[in-house]
Symmetry: C2
Subunit: 234 residues, 2 copies
C-alpha cells in the first residue's frame, strides 16, 4: 500500500459518474427535443466544456462557475441542433441534469469502502452546488467537496491540486487523485500527488479511443473503485 496516504481525491465527470448516458436520457425525456439524438446532443454539449474553461484558465475571462458555463454552452448546442425556442424553465431543468448524473455501478460501494480508512473528497471542475446535489441524488458519501469553485482554479492548473491538499491540512504526497483521464493524473503527479488510473472505457460511448489504457506510470491502476479499495487495503 502507498505510504503516508491520507486522502483520496476524485475527478468526478466520467470517473465517478456516467455523464453521457445520463445527459442523453434527460435530453430524450424532454418532449420538445423528441427529434434529437440524446447521445449526439450530450457529446456536443460536453465538447464545449474544455474550451469554455480554457478562456478562464488563460485569463481572458474572469471566474465563471461551471453551472453558468454549462448554460451558455447549452444555448449554443440548442442552436446547433436547430432548436430555436425552448422555455426557460425547461432549459434550467436540462442544465441541472448535470446535478443528477448517475454513478458507474461500482462507484458508491467503492467510495464507502475507501471512506472507512481514507478521507474521500471530490477534486472536480464542477461547482459546489452541482457536486453537492449530485452526491445527495446518487448517495456519494464525500467527506468534502473540493475543487475548482472552492480554490478558484480550473484543473489542470496546479493551484487546483495544491490548494485542495492544503485545505485538508495535507502535503500533496499524502493525497491521491483518482481519474479515468491520463491528462488529469499527469498534472496531479507533477504537483506531487499519488495517482490512480481507473479506466472508464465507455465514458465517450462505444467508439471511445482515448484513455483506454494508462499512458504513464501511476501509483495504482485499478479495474474499478472496488478493485481500487481492495488494492488500498479497504
Amino acid at each position: 500500500m502507498p505510504k503516508n496516504l491520507k486522502a483520496i481525491l476524485f475527478d468526478v465527470f466520467g470517473t465517478v459518474v456516467d455523464w453521457r448516458s445520463s445527459i442523453a436520457r434527460e435530453v430524450e425525456a424532454v418532449p420538445q427535443l423528441s427529434q434529437v439524438d440524446g447521445e449526439l446532443f450530450a457529446d456536443r454539449w460536453r465538447s464545449k466544456y474544455q474550451p469554455a474553461m480554457e478562456r478562464i484558465r488563460s485569463g481572458s475571462r474572469p471566474w465563471v462557475k461551471l453551472d453558468d458555463l454549462h448554460y451558455e454552452n447549452l444555448n449554443e448546442v440548442l442552436v446547433d441542433f436547430g432548436v430555436d425556442e425552448l422555455d426557460e424553465a425547461i432549459k434550467q431543468h436540462l442544465n441541472r441534469a448535470w446535478h443528477r448524473l448517475s454513478p458507474w455501478a461500482d462507484s458508491v460501494e467503492g467510495l464507502r469502502r475507501l471512506k472507512t480508512i481514507y478521507i474521500i473528497a471530490t477534486l472536480s471542475n464542477g461547482n459546489v452546488a452541482l457536486i453537492v446535489n449530485m452526491a445527495r441524488n446518487a448517495e456519494l458519501p464525500w467527506d468534502m467537496v473540493l475543487g475548482a469553485e472552492v480554490v478558484g482554479h480550473y484543473k489542470p492548473q496546479p493551484e487546483s491540486y495544491l490548494k485542495s491538499a492544503a485545505m485538508l491540512g495535507l502535503e500533496p504526497g499524502q493525497c491521491m487523485l483518482v481519474a479515468a483521464h491520463n491528462s488529469d493524473l499527469i498534472a496531479a503527479a507533477k504537483c506531487g500527488y499519488k495517482t490512480a488510473f481507473v479506466p472508464r472505457p465507455t465514458e465517450y460511448g462505444p467508439n471511445q479511443t482515448a484513455d483506454l489504457e494508462p499512458t504513464a506510470q501511476y501509483t495504482v491502476v485499478a479495474r474499478d473503485f472496488i478493485d481500487l479499495a481492495a488494492q488500498l487495503g479497504c
Copy 2:
C-alpha cells in the same frame, strides 16, 4: 414549516460539539499537564478565540486559518498556566484536540434526520481540515463543509453567510442557520437567513449566564437537534 427552506447550515463549536468537556479531557490526559485544571485551561484557551479572529476581521492581520490561531493561543495559555516547556509533538497533538471534539448527545441523530430532506452543511469558523477530521471522528454526516476558510471571512462578517449560501446555489432565504449563540443568529438574519436557536446551557460550564434563552425573534426555537428535526418535518 418554513417556506422554501433548502439547506440548514450549522454553527459547530458549542452548537454541534461540546468543546469545553472535550478539551478539558484531552488536557488532563497529557501527563505533563497533570497539575492543570482542564476546564480552566479550556476556558482560557477559548477566551482567546474571538480576539484572535478580530485582528483578521478588522484587517490588521491577513488571513490565518483557525488551526494556526489555536496554536498561537495555546502557546499563550501554556505560559499563563506556568508550563514553560512542552514537546512540540505534544503541543501539536493537543492543538488537534479541536479536530476530535465530541458531539452533544442529540447531534448525530438530529443531523441524520435533517439530512433526509435538507442539505446540511457547516458554517463554522473552523478550517476545513478541522471540520472534516471532526466529522469523520464523530460521524457527523455533512453534505458540505462551508464557512470561514472556504469563503475567506470569519463570522459574523456578512460575506461568511452570503458566500456560503451562494456556493450552494441558493438565496439566503433558502438557508437556515442553526446556532446556540444569539449573536451569530442575529448576524445571519441580517443577511436574510432563516434562523434556529438551540440552547446549549452547559457549553460554558455549570455557571453559564449567556445564551440561555433566545434574545431575538427566530424562525424556530428548538430544545435540541431532534426537536429541530421534528419541527422541520423530518
